[in-house]
Homo-oligomer: 335 residues x 4
């Protein structure tokens, strides 16, 4: 097990999945310490700056990577376990953004009505107490929110030779913006090109489900991941596993189609893991499943489907790779 470090300098971030040469090569079983920038590339430095004036749309969400994984072949499954995700600055930033977010006209839900005002919020982060302080901009209201650090954007090179802007989530992962990608979770991504070419960014100190205003508590992160590879058997869409849940994702529009994808994926996975026939698995997921929104603001919307692992009995997904990575993470953290 090697420990690598990926600390991009300002000019070394990527803005697309696919079509970029690897910046680091690792082996399955390795650990990588990754530094990520915030979604504004660190360019928003005070509350009265408007993000739309300092960051071009195509430079939102810089990602660190790509990381090439030795031996990863098309059709394999890349397992990315999040060992730790720690805010790298003492402030996180959130904002509305013109034509972005679920409750304002956007480029795709195009309207003649004017978009919402652009406004910025700075949150002070306190790692000791594990809180971020919300300060209202039009009153003196403040509130401490619990930190729950996560990465909004984690993905690999797309299939078919595509190169995609990092803001779009799809089959290759990308900007799914689900709080489920937190420390302790394993993200499974299908490998579409040799080496997989993993990139990571868009850390949030926390976010609500749906990311309704379009941003979370955007924050540079010091993150540690453990990487593994499952040969063959890649699913069509990204999956997530925590100690308590298996989770599937679907990213498309309209939102019910994202829901359909995530639910069908969960039914199929449940069927695979339990031996239930498809309709029996459909029944079980219908009664036990959870279905939170991830994002309803990005170019594709993302829904997550969750089934508690206790419902699977002794079955372990992908030969227990999550449990092995969990143990490796534990060993790393207590080394």
């Amino acid at each position: 097990m090697a420990i690598h470090e990926l600390k991009p300098s300002p000019g070394e971030y990527s803005y697309v999945f696919g079509g970029v040469a690897p910046r680091l090569s690792v082996k399955p079983g390795d650990i990588v310490k990754v530094s990520t920038e915030d979604c504004f590339g660190g360019r928003v430095t005070h509350q009265d700056q408007l993000p739309s004036e300092v960051v071009p749309f195509s430079e939102l969400n810089p990602v660190s990577g790509p990381i090439e994984v030795a031996g990863a072949e098309v059709g394999d499954l890349l397992a990315v376990h999040f060992v730790s995700i720690v805010p790298a600055r003492s402030t996180a930033i959130s904002s509305t953004f013109p034509h972005f977010g679920a409750l304002t006209p956007t480029h795709e839900t195009a309207m003649l009505a004017a978009p919402l005002e652009e406004r910025v919020w700075f949150y002070d982060l306190d790692l000791d107490s594990g809180t971020a302080t919300f300060r209202a901009r039009r009153s003196d209201h403040t509130l401490r929110l619990p930190l729950d650090p996560m990465h909004g954007t984690v993905g690999v090179a797309p299939a078919g030779g595509e190169t995609r802007l990092v803001v779009t989530p799809s089959t290759y992962g990308g900007n799914m913006d689900t709080p489920e990608v937190r420390a302790g979770a394993t993200l499974y991504l299908p490998v579409n090109v040799p080496g997989a070419l993993l990139s990571i960014g868009d850390g949030h100190a926390r976010q609500g489900e749906g990311e309704v205003c379009g941003t979370g508590l955007e924050c540079a992160m010091n993150t540690v991941i453990a990487i593994d590879l499952v040969k063959g058997g890649a699913p069509a869409w990204p999956r997530i596993e925590s100690d308590d849940f298996i989770m599937t994702t679907g990213s498309t529009r309209p939102l019910e189609d994202a829901y359909r994808i995530s639910q069908k994926e969960l039914v199929d996975w449940t069927s695979d893991l339990t031996g239930l026939d498809t309709l029996d698995a459909y029944q079980l997921v219908s009664q036990l499943g959870l279905a939170p929104a991830a994002n309803v603001c990005d170019p594709n919307y993302t829904m997550v489907a969750k089934l508690p692992t206790w419902a699977l009995g002794a079955a372990k997904a992908y030969g227990g790779v999550h449990q092995r990575l969990r143990a490796a993470a534990e060993a790393y953290l207590t080394r």
Copy 2:
């Protein structure tokens, strides 16, 4: 405080919201013991019966009521607190249903492809252990699921003189099919006609979020509700309050519009309760809110938006009606 009983005989169920004479009159502060039938009207009695053959579509989801609430006027807010919801039979039933559910062609997502097979599952309920036993139909797999009884369908007479089939959720409540309508929760419904005309049905011993196959653990229920009335100030859409969350709902299609409604309602409610301006409240909801699907199978889809009550400080919704009803429920249960 009077205690009423509403036990419809077989011919006394309703199949619509609106346009039905009240079967019971109560006063704010009263308690009502309500018996409800399962969504199949009790007509599915063994696993090899097909629901579509024994229940006409327009007789699905019979509801008990309407209950007239004295003094309720247009624009008021009806508060319905669920004191207890207890399965009335020892079995619950779930099924796929032709052209119903999220992963099959339906009447509205119309396709030339054939619909999924219709299949029925019977669950044994054990109130002592608080479990329902899932038994696969194509294998010997069984699994005990925790009971979490709820009502899928609770609503009042619609506005504008409309009469709506009970299967449709909308501004008047109806078939929202959210597991959040469980014992301990207060459902807030806008009053559209004098007396409000509340009806209740569609008990589920439990269901997953989204009710993806189209049915939960359908079950007749013995339910106790406590009713109160808030004069004026009715919101546009149903809201829910539990000890831990304020919740809003939106029911329409596509699913992102149901999400938009629920989120806008939550932003507005948060702004009302905290004094935050709209964009500050939008920011807070964006970072703290939860957004589970309720149903993605009914004629309108329902999304729920949730904010933890700790974020509201000392503010109490509607003058603390939930807390008062909670106390009344406690008093009733321990009487």
Copy 3:
């Protein structure tokens, strides 16, 4: 063949489909001269009035009727042929309306952004030249548009005992807002209650496809219809026939589901009329069909699917009822 007249006085309009006693009884083969009010109930009388201030939402779109058709039974098909549709006033009115229209936040596509300005346009109608004159409100621009009178709202009582506000289009017809319901066309509606209970309103001197701002050239109309009845064989959704096209409709959300319904209906109808198997009919519709939007602003969106009648060979829909009604109309007009 009797000729009837239905001229409601101001208090005699209806605002719902279903739940209203018939105001006229006719027989299949009869002709009815119907007066209809404009969608604002005639209350907007000059350009500086705001419709939202003079007309409550539930009183938009008054309809004339219901008309009871003798012998119409559940499952029959009501054929409503439009003999003539003539503007009854010399002006037509259009407007934006707060939270209505496709390019502004609405009650269902709910947003925090402000809705568009409400503005009214009056058009002078000239029946001799067949034109309506558009006059811009913020400049001197004028343009003569060809008249193409139609009814946006034509429907029968819904199934299942429902009563629906007239603004909603659905399986019973209603506010489909398609320009295809013009003189010379036959509208086919499924009969859901004895007597069918037909109502008509919402005349437009013309409208674009999609009715994007939410209103057409709203106009009171003097309309003549010829009514017939086809026993049995009612389709699930309204259909339209002109001399040149058979047309089907679907009204729901999202718009692709309205499209799916209309296309499936057209495939099924084509298969019925030609004897083609379903996939062969699907192929033919795919290559020859037209698919214009009707409305993308009402509570349900409506899509129309069209197939040219020449593609059907000698086949006549419903035993040639359109051709017979066309001849009856001719006889009436030249009598």
Copy 4:
């Protein structure tokens, strides 16, 4: 004016927009004779072959190009006039395709229900009579359909360094699948990279609006285009001009958002051309506009919005470039 020829040999087709080196360089004002393959790459040669077995999904829709246009810079508008589009073979092919088309479960409208049967239809083309003969596969039914040749896929390199599979329509054009891209029309595309990098493919001998089964009369084409460049002023989305209509497009999901984009674009264009303020232009488009579906089967759906050019008075789009290209085409054809 130079006349170029682009006849790719089998290995020279592209499958993506963006990221491909130009195969031909031309100047504004030049004419290009382009050969295009059918969407199956010519590999389906008889009716009993299943396209899904002979063509991998990522090799559907080969395009000819890219063509580099000298002087084209980011923000310019590329005008592509279709001088002639002539079927290159005597047969066209259509098919259903597993998980593709509007009336079957797909990868994005994911379901557990089985997809429709895959079936292939061969059409004999007769250029003299201008017809294609439909032959049913399950009966002896035949029908002659008028030819109306068009290109489903025409686009340029995307912005932001993206590379996209040709099957997806978006802001850069691509697989919009609208019958409006026929001989006599000018397609306007925004230039996103120096040289624009235009590619063309997916000829259809004809198709219906919406392309409901997922394919048109797929056919290799001999096509002649005339190219021009308008400096600056590129719109956000592709536009089309014919002698009779200005047209705008929107490509996204759900279909109402594609409609919204196309309608907003048409309002803005109408405002630019006539000097009407935005709401006056909205009003005019609402009353005069047409709104046909283009495709409701591709990864993004496409809607078209059309306004008759007579409504624009003397105004000419982009300084009359369509009229000039039309004249050049005439000169070329009668040379």
